[in-house]
Symmetry: C2
Subunit: 359 residues, 2 copies
């Protein structure tokens, strides 16, 4: 690929024949310079290699390639897209990009799609159904080849509509209906959190469960409660509270739990930032996290280990989820049959459950 300042003709100020309005070389530019027809240039440049038919004679092909390289030719994606009805574009919808979990997933998506020659649009929806519709419409208006939703509602109602439009898509982070998704094995993650707290002797537990429409919170909570149940430890309904996925959501939820009077000895929070908010409230209540109350978060964001009281958490492979979701979409675009993937989480014990026992 030609690169900025790599000494191709583009930067030398030479006027190219049959350049586009911006002065960029076109297929025609290369064709004239090579003394062949544009269709020959197109065939040569699009030929992927391999045995069998050749797009042109060896010498012609080499000459064309050399000239294309020299003038810094790159095909006009509007022309290609118009002709082939393939845009090599992917639309990605997330609740919020400032959420490091989603930003990390998106980085994985972006990197992986780039290796296929695809570019991505991202947009925030704030988990608002109206915004989801609006943003989906914007993205479809751009004629993306496919979409990746990181903001699926577990009921999948909106996704049914999108599927009805014929747009291939996959889900990431959250599952919904029977649509192909790449998620963390959230049920397992919840179980790991429970087993950790139970193994430390905690029997008085609470869960800050996230939004009721997100499979992440639902599955993590279900896994946690199932493991508690299997161990014969009950968690009252009043001790399982929904919350937003941010720090403030954790503050609110923990306050509600404390308002009950009794303080649980162990709290599972389905998101690290939510856990940080919860820890703040515990601290403000004069409780020492890791000694008076054990807290387990979810995701293992980079900050978790840098906190004054290191946060015990369930590490989810966020970047990997993005990469895999991108691959899954690419396979869908190639009309392959695809199956959902559940990536394995790992418990990372730190001071918020171990107290002074330094890890």
């Amino acid at each position: 690929m030609a690169v900025v300042g790599d000494g191709t003709d583009r930067t030398s100020g030479v006027e190219l024949p049959f350049a586009d309005p911006a002065g960029r070389p076109t297929l025609r530019t290369v064709a004239e310079l090579a003394g062949v027809h544009v269709s020959t240039v197109s065939r040569v440049l699009n030929h992927v290699g391999g045995p069998g038919v050749r797009p042109a004679s060896r010498t012609t092909s080499e000459r064309i390639r050399r000239i294309a390289e020299r003038v810094g030719y790159s095909p006009n994606p509007h022309a290609t897209g118009l002709r082939t009805s393939r845009s090599h574009l992917v639309g990605v919808l997330v609740p919020r990009l400032v959420d490091i979990v989603l930003a990390t997933i998106y980085e994985g998506i972006e990197e992986a799609t780039a290796t296929y020659g695809f570019s991505t649009f991202v947009a925030n929806t704030g988990d608002d159904p109206a915004a989801q519709r609006r943003r989906t419409e914007m993205v479809l208006a751009r004629r993306v080849d496919g979409m990746i939703f990181g903001d699926a509602y577990v009921d999948g109602g909106f996704l049914d509509e999108v599927a009805g439009r014929g747009v291939p898509f996959v889900l990431v982070s959250r599952r919904a209906g029977a649509y192909p998704s790449v998620t963390c094995d959230d049920v397992l993650g919840g179980r790991l959190a429970a087993e950790h707290l139970l193994s430390l002797g905690h029997r008085d537990l609470a869960v800050i469960a996230g939004e009721p429409y997100a499979s992440t919170g639902i599955d993590r909570t279900a896994g946690f409660l199932a493991a508690c149940d299997a161990a014969g430890v009950g968690v009252p309904d009043s001790r399982v509270v929904h919350s937003r996925f941010d720090t403030e959501g954790g503050r609110e939820a923990m306050s509600r739990i404390l308002a009950d009077g009794a303080v649980p000895t162990g709290v599972f929070v389905v998101n690290d930032f939510t856990a940080i908010g919860a820890m703040g409230v515990l601290r403000d209540a004069g409780l020492v996290v890791g000694r008076d109350v054990a807290v387990v978060g979810f995701n293992d964001v980079p900050l978790a280990g840098s906190l004054p009281v290191g946060l015990t958490t369930v590490r989810s492979p966020m970047h990997e989820m993005g990469v895999r979701a991108a691959h899954l979409l690419m396979r869908r675009l190639a009309s392959e049959e695809v199956a959902s993937e559940r990536l394995v989480p790992v418990l990372v014990p730190r001071a918020s459950t171990l107290g002074d026992r330094r890890v």
Copy 2:
């Protein structure tokens, strides 16, 4: 704008005449349904309104609009782009999208460009010059109308090359050369940090200054040192150390400062996450932040106020910077003369400098 599931013909399974290969209505679809020529439809749909010439008779215009609405027509951007050589696309380069500062700025850019009917591509460069070239090339291959760089090196060398390519661009967050930029008034921000620490009586100061190629770190440090100088307080060179902009960078830098032996009573860190890393090292050294050592960060990320020891910091208008940068680029695309903008920061005092004095 037609919306998913809004009851237009698109979702009803009706075959549209002259639809594109994906079954979407084209200009021709609308033209046939309205019984007029495609050029008339184009004129009507692109007419912005206003007095003077009309694109068609009132009744024709209304009929066309009604039909376009009903079939859910949205113009094929590849065709429009090919014809007009305008893509309504913007490329955005950032060091890393998982950095909440950049993610917040990008959200501002995305929102603002969307109001102009533009879409954006973002890509990470990790502040790596080779990646900057590669990503710029990818973005230009998409035929964006303009670019926004959030990862400028202060010397501006690479940007000179980009300018030579004729692509309009603006900078955000970091300034460079004489290129139009939207930044925080970082010099002022540094001064605010210094005045705060000086007013609390601190005379033994240190600075964790960020990367040497980023104007943010450079200007914040310069403003800080200038204010110290004006107050007759010297800061030795050995107490001004460069660092990466993340938590680990703060750990390394603070460790280097402490390795000197003497512990400063006040530390200015040019980035909140770097400050969090620095606070971790201080804590590990048995020092209490806010009592033994005062720490001031920069940006006021949402977490700053939720930390166990609330972080005193200089709030920069991150989202607003993104919005303004987008507007600035739009004006450049309209060939207007534009000037750089410096947005005003505000000091937010918290426990990391005030200790027990609750704010």
